[in-house]
């Protein structure tokens, strides 16, 4: 897709020289389209956290806002001390510097307990069939997955879904409390309430505080794509990352004693595929793409005095890949050409820097998050239509965005540290796009003044519409394949297994009896079958390259280990 040079392209803050260029795989979520179906959460869980020890962990979760979120009230940094703060103009983790962290090694005072997430449970299903004959229908009572005891279910991963629990529960929302402190009263009664969904994953921040507080240096940011990962072999279970992350997106596996977090599905990203949450998103609201940024500017940007300037400061870190100088600097920094090309086509860059409709989540944590959000317009349109107005008439809409102060303030509390300006600008653009496209759909003339009113031209307005409303797969996900992949040497062929495998590790594995919510695997019947499958596999290998290394699970009977599922060790023995 070629695009004319943009008015709103990234400014290079005057003639500031370009420092070290780095690439980041970033995500944008269009909240207007989120229907809160939790498909992303469920597919993510099935992929990554369906193991004992991570029952309570949701690398991806969908929260209803206003609401307490998961874990409860995680945005209250006075309590949890996540993220960074400025101390005499310098950035320090909010939970304290290095010495203070080490002093708190033996009991982390800011660690959430399981109650803050929820105590995972299962049901005593067996009594349904094994209960003695009697007058009462047997029931499956809840049992804690943590200690096996009978339990009362008092909280769950989505307890306040769709405003469940009512005003009493909603009032504990830290963003609402913040608004109240500045004299904003938000109506929580059901008939006057508003709500929207906020899917959350790890932010893969440019200035990650989880990395900063890890005493072992196990957490790291990958140079190539900016994904923040936990080295499972280096993690020693000090738990500082759990409290250091203001988004509470690092989880402690209580079985293995190791931290685990969203990996941005890096094995998929490396292959140029979108993450599982994106791939399975029913509303097609997630966008993945490359952002180029100047790593030398990050520290300064994160240390801007005024919290409300952090959004702009972060925008200033991003580089415009259309700028030939940036492209040259990027290649000097070792970023391959196809990544620069991908950055030019990046939908994420378009939404963040070009159209300026995507905003960061809680920039005031100073971590420079890289999962951004298009704020939802729906509550506004909805409210207008309810009052008998034409919800998509531009005059009504623009007026209403300003008049409906409450959602605006609330959104600003989430996305811009309380500054309503950028939120309002983004909502106006979305509103203008609706009106503009409606005229076209109704066969009326294009109203270019609508585009001009929000600083766009007709062509870009329609491009934006295409990206947001049509959201074609190949335009939503522009992910170049990984670039440190060297020519595989034959010796390394045995090591192509997932690096996260291992007992209790986050890779898919099975340990009899300990697999989360699973039946104990049946044993036996392997040997007889094995030889046959072996032969099949040999055939497959002979037959050609296309299916080599693939496992066909369709004709696997679920017993034993399907042939070829695991790479072969040197010497022909199975791994």
């Amino acid at each position: 897709m070629t695009r004319t040079p943009h008015k709103h392209s990234e400014r290079r803050s005057g003639s500031a020289p370009i420092g070290r260029v780095m690439a980041q795989v970033a995500m944008v979520m269009n909240l207007d389209k989120c229907i809160g179906c939790h498909t992303c959460s469920v597919t993510c869980k099935q992929t990554w956290t369906n193991r004992a020890g991570t029952e309570y962990a949701w690398f991806n979760n969908v929260e209803t806002r206003p609401g307490q979120g998961y874990p409860r009230g995680h945005e209250d940094q006075d309590r949890w001390k996540g993220g960074w703060r400025l101390k005499h103009g310098r950035l320090v983790p909010r939970s304290g510097g290095r010495a203070r962290r080490l002093a708190r090694l033996f009991a982390n005072p800011e660690l959430p307990t399981l109650d803050d997430y929820y105590e995972p449970w299962t049901y005593d299903y067996e009594t349904l069939t094994s209960a003695p004959l009697g007058d009462d229908v047997p029931t499956a009572r809840p049992r804690s997955l943590i200690n096996g005891a009978e339990t009362e279910i008092t909280w769950g991963p989505n307890w306040d879904d769709d405003l469940g629990g009512g005003p009493a529960r909603l009032a504990a929302d830290p963003v609402l409390k913040q608004l109240e402190r500045v004299g904003q009263k938000v109506r929580l009664e059901y008939e006057q309430a508003f709500m929207f969904y906020l899917p959350r994953i790890c932010e893969h921040c440019l200035n990650p505080s989880c990395v900063a507080v890890c005493p072992s240096g196990a957490l790291y940011k990958r140079i190539e794509d900016g994904i923040v990962l936990v080295d499972q072999d280096r993690c020693r279970g000090w738990r500082m990352c759990v409290s250091g992350c203001p988004y509470k997106k690092v989880y402690f596996n209580h079985r293995t004693g190791k931290a685990e977090k969203c990996t941005l599905c890096y094995p998929r990203i490396e292959a140029g595929e979108p993450t599982v949450c994106s791939e399975t998103c029913v509303g097609r609201l997630r966008y993945l793409g490359i952002m180029l940024y100047d790593a030398d500017r990050v520290g300064r940007a994160a240390a801007v005095e005024d919290e409300q300037e952090l959004y702009e400061a972060q925008l200033d870190c991003f580089l415009d890949p259309h700028d030939p100088e940036v492209a040259r600097a990027a290649e000097e920094s070792g970023i391959p050409h196809d990544w620069v090309t991908a950055a030019r086509r990046s939908p994420v860059r378009a939404l963040i820097s070009d159209y300026r409709i995507a905003l960061p989540l809680h920039p005031e944590y100073r971590t420079m998050p890289m999962v951004w959000y298009v704020p939802p317009l729906s509550p506004v349109v909805e409210a207008l239509s309810k009052d008998g107005h034409d919800g998509e008439d531009p005059a009504n809409l623009f007026g209403a965005i300003d008049a409906l102060r409450i959602p605006l303030e609330y959104l600003a509390g989430l996305f811009t540290a309380g500054d309503t300006g950028p939120v309002e600008a983004a909502l106006c653009r979305l509103a203008a796009m609706r009106s503009y496209m409606r005229r076209i759909n109704l066969g009326q003339e294009r109203d270019c003044s609508l585009a001009a009113a929000v600083g766009l031209d007709a062509e870009r307005m329609e491009e934006m519409y295409r990206l947001l409303a049509l959201a074609k797969y190949e335009e939503r996900y522009v992910i170049p394949t990984s670039y440190t992949g060297q020519v595989p040497d034959p010796d390394a062929a045995a090591d192509t297994g997932c690096g996260l495998d291992g007992e209790g590790g986050p890779g898919m594995y099975e340990r009899p009896g300990e697999t989360f919510h699973a039946l104990a695997p049946a044993v036996g019947r392997q040997d007889g079958e094995g030889g046959e499958n072996e032969a099949d596999e040999e055939d497959g290998e002979l037959a050609g390259s296309a299916t080599r290394g693939r496992v066909n699970l369709l004709n696997w009977d679920g017993r034993g280990r399907p042939a070829g599922l695991f790479p072969r060790r040197r010497g022909g023995e199975r791994a």
């Binding site: 950035l91 983790p93 290095r98 010495a99 962290r101 080490l102 090694l105 033996f106 009991a107 982390n108 005072p109 660690l111 307990t113 399981l114 804690s144 943590i146 200690n147 096996g148 005891a149 200035n207 990650p208 990395v211 900063a212 890890c214 005493p215 072992s216 240096g217 957490l219 790291y220 940011k221 990958r222 140079i223 190539e224 794509d225 990962l229 080295d231 499972q232 072999d233 280096r234 993690c235 020693r236 279970g237 000090w238 738990r239 402690f252 209580h254 079985r255 293995t256 004693g257 190791k258 490396e270 990984s482 440190t484 060297q486 390394a492 090591d495 690096g499 291992g502 007992e503 209790g504």
Partner: protein, 235 residues
């Protein structure tokens, strides 16, 4: 009897040392993933917040006391003008307080481990072996320290310490240990048991003490290539 003493104070320490070093190296080579504190704070925080720091900080002081008491010969402190009385008073008060803190901390932690159901459920077999030994070592040590309060009591710096230092000179002074009171001998034996269990229990997390953190930049960057190589190396 003499053979027993030679076995206990002349041979066993080296066996334990070999087990300790070899076991740790083996564990690090084959089970780096297992090098963790296995923290149970997620289950229970209130008691841990008291017991954890009390035990660990007490233990650090105890460790410091052992370094001073075992490694520094009495002749050196004499020459520095530290009187025998002052030294022992110090050892008794500071050492005793540190030991009490460690024991109290461990008591809280053990109570928590037994009484909090989730923590109890997460207790491994190695934990069940290590905790009694750890408690016994601490109690024996504390008793030995307390016995130093009596006038004219055993001066371990002329006995146990001499034996301990002689171990590193590969010339174990069995006689020096043979004359020590039973409680000192018991303490030493239990300590050897603890060091033998060390590599095979959660105690390995002590090797992971993150001192490098003090000198490290906050943000860690790593290349995909280097982590892939590290992975290969580890397998």
């Amino acid at each position: 009897m003499n053979h027993l003493h030679i076995a206990l104070w002349g041979v066993l320490p080296y066996l334990v040392l070999a087990l300790f070093v070899g076991g740790s190296a083996w564990r690090y080579r084959y089970d780096r993933f297992g090098f963790t504190t296995r923290s149970s704070q997620l289950y229970e925080s209130r008691l841990l917040r008291v017991g954890g720091p009390l035990f660990h900080y007490g233990l650090f002081l105890v460790l410091g006391g052992h370094v001073v008491g075992l490694l520094i010969p009495e002749g050196l402190t004499d020459r520095l003008g530290v009187s025998e009385g002052f030294y022992h008073l110090n050892a008794l008060l500071v050492g005793g307080a540190a030991g009490l803190a460690a024991v109290a901390g461990l008591a809280v932690l053990l109570w928590r481990r037994l009484r909090v159901r989730a923590v109890r459920a997460a207790t491994s077999r190695s934990d069940r072996a290590v905790y009694p030994v750890l408690l016994a070592v601490l109690l024996a040590g504390l008793t030995a320290t307390a016995s130093g309060a009596a006038a004219g009591s055993y001066d371990y710096r002329l006995g146990v310490s001499v034996w301990f230092r002689s171990l590193f000179l590969l010339d174990p002074d069995v006689a020096a240990m043979r004359g020590a009171p039973l409680v000192y001998q018991l303490h030493a034996l239990l300590a050897m048991a603890l060091f033998g269990l060390w590599p095979f229990s959660r105690l390995v997390h002590a090797f992971a003490a993150p001192l490098g953190y003090l000198a490290r930049p906050y943000i860690v960057y790593r290349s995909r290539a280097s982590s892939a190589a590290a992975q290969r190396g580890a397998r």
